[in-house]
C-alpha cells in the first residue's frame, strides 16, 4: 500500500490551452495533465510534482461538421454514449466502444484524451478510433500538429508525445449510410477488463465489402489493424466461406500476450470468432443504414452480449 502521488506539491487550473502548454513546458516532465483522473488516482509515481487540471480549457465538446465529428479531449465516455451524431458513425461503432469502458461512474470520468494517451492494453476507444481512421490533434510549445490514429497508436503515445504536448481534439470522419461498423468486447463481466476487443468498419456495395478496417485490441499492448484479413475481404462477395477464411486467418495472425484468465491459444481462436462476428454485424448494420434514408435509425444500446443479426450474404 503506497501513497498516491507522494511528491505532489503543485496544482494548476489554466484557462487556455496556451497557458497549459507553457505550464507543462516549465514542468520539464514533472507536471502532468489531469483530465478524468481515473489513472492518476492510482498513481504512486514519485516523479510527478504538479497537476494541470484541464477542466477549464473548454475542451469538453462534440461538434458536428459536414465531413467530420470533432471531439474535444476532455469529453467523457458518457458524452459519446449519448450523442446522436456519434451514434451515426459507422453503425455506432464509436458509441459501442465508449459504452464498453467500465461502469457508469467510470464513463462519467474517463475522458477521450486521457483514455487514448494512457492506452491501457484493454482500452476500447483506441480500437474504434483506429478502425475509423480518426485524426488526433496535438498542441505543444512548437505549435499544432495532426496525426493519424495509426501513427498515434503505432507506439505507446506516452513514448512519442513530448512532455509539453497536449492532445486537444480527436476528429472522426463521418461515414456514408452504406458504411457499417461493430465493436465487440470480450470480457468476464460487463465492466471487467477486456480479454479481447474487436472493431470492424466496412462499406457495403452490392454483395461485396469495401474499405474494410479491422482492429484487434487487448491481445497485445497496442491495438493493431488486421491488414491481411482486410485485403482478403476487400471487394470480395461476403460468403460464409470467406468469413471462415477471415476467422482462421485472424487466429493465425493474432499472437496474444499472456493473460492469466485464459491461454493464448484460446484467445487466438476467440479472436477469429469475434472478427467473423464483427464483420457480420458491421455488414448487417450497413444494410440497415442503407435501407433507412439519412441513417437516422436508432439502435439499441450496445453490449458484448448482443446477438449478431446474421447478415451473412
Amino acid at each position: 500500500m503506497q501513497q498516491i502521488l507522494p511528491k505532489l506539491t503543485e496544482y494548476f487550473r489554466p484557462r487556455s490551452v496556451a497557458t497549459a502548454i507553457t505550464l507543462l513546458s516549465k514542468g520539464k516532465g514533472r507536471r502532468v495533465p489531469l483530465a478524468g483522473g481515473t489513472s492518476l488516482a492510482l498513481s504512486t509515481s514519485r516523479k510527478i510534482t504538479g497537476l494541470l487540471d484541464l477542466s477549464d480549457l473548454k475542451l469538453r465538446y462534440i461538434k458536428e461538421s459536414q465531413r467530420s465529428i470533432r471531439i474535444g479531449a476532455t469529453a467523457v465516455m458518457k458524452d459519446l454514449c449519448k450523442h446522436a451524431a456519434v451514434d451515426r458513425v459507422a453503425g455506432g461503432v464509436l458509441q459501442q466502444a465508449a459504452h464498453a469502458v467500465g461502469a457508469t461512474p467510470t464513463r462519467n470520468l474517463v475522458t477521450v484524451g486521457g483514455n487514448i494517451v494512457q492506452l491501457f492494453f484493454w482500452s476500447s476507444l483506441p480500437v474504434a478510433l483506429l478502425a475509423l481512421d480518426a485524426t488526433i490533434r496535438i498542441q505543444g510549445k512548437s505549435g499544432r500538429r495532426s496525426i493519424s490514429a495509426a501513427a498515434f497508436f503505432r507506439s505507446h503515445p506516452k513514448r512519442h508525445l513530448a512532455f509539453h504536448e497536449l492532445v486537444t481534439e480527436v476528429v472522426v470522419p463521418k461515414t456514408s449510410s452504406s458504411c457499417g461498423g461493430a465493436f465487440i468486447k470480450f470480457a468476464r463481466t460487463h465492466t471487467g477488463y477486456a480479454m479481447l476487443n474487436v472493431a470492424c468498419v466496412l462499406e457495403r456495395r452490392g454483395r461485396a465489402c469495401h474499405n474494410v478496417r479491422l482492429v484487434i485490441g487487448a491481445a497485445t499492448a497496442l491495438p493493431f489493424r488486421l491488414r491481411k484479413v482486410e485485403d482478403l475481404l476487400e471487394n470480395a462477395p461476403l460468403t460464409p466461406s470467406l468469413l471462415e477464411q477471415a476467422k482462421s486467418m485472424t487466429a493465425q495472425i493474432v499472437k496474444p500476450v499472456a493473460d492469466m484468465r485464459a491461454d493464448p491459444e484460446y484467445r487466438k481462436e476467440v479472436a477469429g470468432v469475434l472478427v467473423k462476428r464483427a464483420i457480420q454485424e458491421a455488414w448487417a448494420r450497413a444494410a440497415q443504414t442503407q435501407a433507412v434514408s439519412g441513417g437516422r435509425k436508432r439502435r439499441p444500446t450496445a453490449s458484448r452480449k448482443r446477438k449478431s443479426s446474421g447478415g451473412t450474404a
Binding site: 500500500m1 503506497q2 501513497q3 461502469a103 470480450f186 470480457a187 468476464r188 463481466t189 460487463h190 465492466t191 471487467g192 477488463y193 492469466m260 484468465r261 485464459a262 491461454d263 484460446y266 481462436e269 476467440v270 470468432v273 469475434l274 452480449k305 446477438k307
Partner: protein, 780 residues
C-alpha cells in the same frame, strides 16, 4: 399444504429498521469512528509459502519516528488457538498462534506495526529484517497426504481440543467417516452405477468492507474491541484466551457490517490489534487492504469429490458413496465442520438405504479455507446435483419426476442426521415440514420447464434448462444458543437487546417484527440494538443459518414474557384477571368490554412511577435439539456459445421453502443475493496462483465478480410451510440458495450442448475445451 395463519407484522415486508440510516449514510460502520491519538497498524506478511524465520530484527523499524509498537512472535504470548468463531470447545484444530516462527502460506502474518500514520507504519514494515529458511511447499491436497510431503504443522503444541481425528504429522487437518446400511450390497442391487469425480475451486467472500477493527482502552483500562464481526461473543472469548486476559476485561462492539458471508466468523485481526493497544496503551485501527482481504483472510475450501451411486430403473436409489478431499490451506479453521456439512447437508435429502461418507481435509501452503455461505454444502451439492441429473438421464426419467420420487418428506428422518454432527455425533431428527414437491412444481412452471426441455437447439448459441434440489439447516442442534432482552420504555415503546448480529442480512428487522407481533405494536416501537457484549445478552452469532430460527425464538420468548407482565399490570389497573385481557395495536383491552382499556404508555407509566413499581423486562434464551432444513428447487436456463465457450444465464428461478417468511422482501433478497453470489462463483470467479503459491489476482480488476449489469433475471418464489419449532413457523433462508447455481447451470449446459461440466469454474475456455473433447469423442 401450508397452514393459513394471520399475523399483523410477521409475513409483511416492512422496511428495514436500519434502511434509512444505511441509505442516507448515517449508519455507523467500524471505520466511522475517530479516537484521539489513534494509531494505525499494518502487518508484515510472508513472501514465502513455507519458511522458518531464522532471525527477525525490528530494531531499525522501532527507531523510526512515529512508530509506537511492533509485534512479532517474540513479544506475544504463544497460545495455540483456532481463528474459527465457533462454540466452545471448537471442533477446529488449535493450530494457530498470534505470530509464529514459521510461515505457512504467502501472506502469513510475520509482524505488526502500530504508528502515528499508515505511511509511517508502511515505512516501518520495510525496515524489518527477516531472514527466512525457505522450506519446500506443498500445494496439492493429494500430495500433502503423501508420505514424503513437507509437514506444514510440525510444531509440537498444535492440537485438537475435541476428541476428533487430527494428524498434523501427515498434514491431515480433519477426518470424518460413516456408513449406513451396506453400500457394496446397494451397488449390487443397482441397475445403473455411476462413479464420477468433481471439483470445486477457491472463492472469495468479496465483502465490500474488508476486515477492520478498532481497539482502545476505556476509562477502566478495559480493552474495547470495535470490530466488523459475525461473532462478537466468540471474539471476546478467543481474544481473552489468546491475550491471556479475563473475559471481564474485554468488551466487543459490533457496529453496522459491510458484508460478511461467513468471512467474518473468523477472529483474524482482533487479537493483533488488541495486543497492540495493550502494548502501546493507545487506540489502534487495523484494516486490511483488498489485496490482504483476498490473500490473508478466508476462502471457500476447494474440494475434490468422488461420488458413486447406484440406481434402479424405477428411479429408486440403492447406494450413495460420497468421498471428499478438502483443501484446508495453511490452517484449519472449520477444517472438520465444513467437510462434515458436505455430507450432512446433502446426503439426507434423498431416501437411500445404503450411504457411505468419508471426508478428509489436508493442509497445504495455500490461502486458508473458512466459513463461507453454504459451508461445504455448496461444494457437495455440485456433485450431488449433477449426479442426480446423470442418474435421471441414465434411466430416462425427467429430473423433476426423479427428484420427487427420491426426496425426503415431512414425517421422515434420515440416519445421516444422527451420524454426522459438528465435531460430535449428530442428532436424531424427523422433519416437521418439507415443501419440496411444491417448490419443484412451482419452479418448473415458472421457467416453463416442460416446453423448454423439449427444445433442442442446433445453432452456434444453444439454450438449455437444468434443475437441482437443495437443503441446508437452521442452526446447529445441541450446540448453538441465543438470548434476547426486551425492556419497556415509559412511553410504551420497547428496547430489544439482541446478541444476534445483523450483517446486512436484515436480522434486526426480522427480530423487531417478531417482537412487534407478540407485543401488538409496529416495528418503529421496537428499538433494536445488536450487539455489544457488555449490554446485549449472549448469542453465538450469525452463522449456520441460525438467526431467524434461533435468535428469533429467543426474541419471541422474551416478548411473550414481557407481554405477560404487561397484561398483569393492566389487570391491576383495570381491576380484572390478566386472562380477560388482550393486546391490540398498542392498547390493552378487555376481551368483552373493549371500552375498558389502557394504552401501553399508561401501563409503562403505571409500572414505573405509580404502584407496585417494577421494570417490565425479560430475557429469554433459546437452544435447539433439531435443525429443521429449508428446501429449494432451482432452475436455470442458459445459453452456450459453442464458438467461444461462454455461458450466459438467461433466467434463474428459485422456489424456496423457508417455512414462514417473516419478511418476504428480505427473504427474497437473501435468495437473490445468494444466487448472484453462486452464479458469479460458478462462471467467473477464480484464484490464480504462481508456481510459488502467490495469488496473482488479489484485486477486483482480475478477480471479477458479478455487478448489477451481469445479473440475469432471477425469480424467487417463497413456498410457505409451517415449522412448528420455529418462530411463527420460520426456518432459515440465508445460505441454501448459494448451493444451486453450480449444479443447476451444469445440468442446463448438459441439456443445451450435451457436455457434463464436473469441474468448476465453468470459464469459457474450460467449456470450449469440453466441447472440443466431446466432438473428438463423437468422431472416434
Amino acid at each position: 399444504m401450508p397452514q393459513k395463519r394471520t399475523f399483523n407484522i410477521v409475513g409483511i415486508s416492512v422496511p428495514k429498521v436500519d434502511g434509512v440510516s444505511l441509505a442516507t449514510g448515517s449508519a455507523q460502520f467500524t471505520d466511522d469512528f475517530e479516537l484521539r491519538s489513534m494509531l494505525h497498524a499494518r502487518m508484515l506478511r510472508s513472501p514465502h509459502a513455507h519458511a522458518r524465520i531464522r532471525k527477525i530484527d525490528t530494531s531499525e523499524a522501532a527507531r523510526l519516528p512515529g512508530v509506537h509498537g511492533i509485534l512479532t512472535y517474540k513479544n506475544v504470548p504463544r497460545v495455540a488457538h483456532t481463528t474459527a468463531g465457533q462454540g466452545h470447545p471448537e471442533p477446529s484444530p488449535y493450530d494457530t498462534f498470534l505470530f509464529d516462527r514459521k510461515v505457512r502460506y504467502v501472506g502469513d502474518a510475520v509482524a505488526a506495526v502500530a504508528a502515528d500514520t499508515l505511511q509511517i507504519a508502511n515505512q516501518a514494515l520495510q525496515l524489518i529484517q527477516v531472514d527466512y529458511e525457505i522450506l519446500d511447499p506443498v500445494f496439492d491436497p493429494h500430495q500433502a497426504l503423501q508420505k514424503d510431503a513437507p509437514i506444514i504443522h510440525d510444531e509440537p503444541d498444535a492440537y485438537a481440543p475435541l476428541p476428533v481425528i487430527y494428524e498434523p504429522q501427515r498434514n491431515l487437518a480433519a477426518h470424518v467417516d460413516m456408513e449406513i446400511g451396506d453400500v457394496e450390497a446397494g451397488f449390487h442391487q443397482a441397475d445403473v452405477l455411476l462413479d464420477n469425480q468433481y471439483s470445486t475451486h477457491y472463492g472469495a467472500h468479496a465483502a465490500l468492507e474488508t476486515h477492520i477493527v478498532i481497539t482502545y482502552l476505556d476509562e477502566q483500562n478495559r480493552l474495547v474491541i470495535r470490530t466488523s464481526t459475525q461473532v462478537p461473543f466468540h471474539v471476546r472469548r478467543i481474544v481473552a484466551r489468546v491475550l491471556q486476559q479475563p473475559v471481564s476485561r474485554i468488551r466487543v462492539v459490533k457496529p453496522r457490517i459491510g458484508g460478511a458471508f461467513g468471512g467474518k466468523q473468523e477472529i483474524i485481526l482482533e487479537a493483533i490489534s488488541g495486543a497492540l493497544t495493550l502494548l502501546t496503551r493507545r487506540p489502534v485501527k487495523l484494516q486490511l487492504t483488498r489485496e490482504e482481504e483476498f490473500m490473508c483472510t478466508r476462502t471457500r475450501h476447494p474440494q475434490h469429490i468422488r461420488l458413486k451411486s447406484g440406481v434402479k430403473k424405477d428411479g429408486s436409489l440403492t447406494a450413495l458413496d460420497l468421498s471428499i478431499l478438502m483443501n484446508a490451506g495453511a490452517y484449519g479453521p472449520h477444517a472438520l465442520t465444513v467437510v462434515c456439512n458436505s455430507g450432512s447437508k446433502t446426503l439426507p435429502l434423498y431416501r437411500c438405504p445404503n450411504v457411505r461418507f468419508e471426508g478428509n481435509t489436508a493442509y497445504t501452503n495455500l490461502p486458508i479455507g473458512g466459513a463461507y455461505r453454504g459451508y461445504g454444502a455448496t461444494q457437495a451439492f455440485f456433485a450431488m446435483g449433477v449426479q442426480m441429473d446423470e442418474m435421471a438421464h441414465a434411466i430416462g426419467m425427467d429430473p423433476p419426476t426423479f427428484h420427487k420420487r427420491n426426496h425426503i418428506r415431512a414425517g421422515e428422518g434420515s440416519p445421516v442426521f444422527q451420524a454426522l454432527g459438528e465435531g460430535k455425533k449428530g442428532v436424531e431428527m424427523k422433519l416437521n415440514t418439507c415443501g419440496l414437491d411444491a417448490c419443484i412444481d412451482q419452479g418448473a412452471r415458472a421457467i416453463s420447464w416442460h416446453t423448454k426441455r423439449r427444445r433442442r437447439d442446433k445453432g452456434v448459441r444453444r439454450r438449455g434448462v437444468g434443475m437441482v434440489c437443495l437443503m441446508q439447516g437452521s442452526a446447529i442442534p445441541e450446540i448453538d444458543m441465543a438470548a434476547a432482552t426486551i425492556t419497556m420504555n415509559d412511553d410504551g415503546s420497547f428496547i430489544l437487546l439482541a446478541g444476534a448480529t445483523d450483517l446486512g442480512t436484515g436480522s434486526d428487522t426480522v427480530l423487531a417484527q417478531i417482537a412487534a407481533e407478540i407485543l401488538s405494536v409496529t416495528t418503529d416501537q421496537i428499538v433494536v440494538h445488536s450487539s455489544d457484549t457488555d449490554f446485549t445478552p449472549f448469542d453465538v452469532g450469525a452463522y449456520a443459518s441460525s438467526t431467524t430460527y434461533l435468535s428469533g425464538n429467543a426474541v419471541k420468548h422474551a416478548a411473550e414474557q414481557v407481554r405477560q407482565q404487561i397484561l398483569r399490570v393492566a389487570s391491576e389497573m383495570l381491576n380484572t384477571e390478566p386472562s380477560m385481557l388482550m393486546l391490540r395495536k398498542g392498547t390493552v383491552m378487555h376481551q368483552k368490554t373493549t371500552t375498558r382499556r389502557v394504552s401501553l404508555a399508561d401501563v409503562a407509566h403505571y409500572s414505573l412511577y405509580q404502584k407496585n413499581q417494577f421494570h417490565i423486562s425479560a430475557t429469554a434464551s433459546q437452544h435447539t435439539h433439531i435443525s429443521p432444513p429449508p428446501f429449494a428447487a432451482h432452475f436455470a436456463e442458459v445459453e452456450v456459445d459453442t464458438e467461444t465457450g461462454e455461458i450466459r444465464v438467461l433466467e434463474y428461478v428459485a422456489a424456496v421453502d423457508c417455512g414462514t417468511a417473516i419478511n418476504p422482501a428480505l427473504a427474497e433478497g437473501q435468495t437473490e443475493g445468494a444466487i448472484v453470489n453462486g452464479i458469479s462463483f460458478a462462471l467467473i470467479e477464480e484464484f490464480h496462483f504462481d508456481a510459488r503459491g502467490r495469488m496473482l489476482n488479489p484485486n477486483f480488476n482480475y478477480y471479477s465478480i458479478f455487478s448489477a449489469r451481469d445479473v440475469p433475471p432471477i425469480k424467487a418464489i417463497l413456498v410457505p410451510t409451517h415449522e412448528p419449532t420455529g418462530p411463527f413457523g420460520a426456518k432459515s433462508i440465508a445460505e441454501i440458495s448459494i448451493n444451486g447455481p453450480l449444479p443447476a447451470i451444469s445440468n442446463a449446459v448438459y441439456h443445451a450442448v450435451g457436455i457434463r461440466l464436473r469441474h468448476a469454474p465453468f470459464t469459457p475456455q474450460h467449456v470450449l475445451d469440453a466441447l472440443r473433447n466431446q466432438g473428438r469423442q463423437k468422431k472416434l
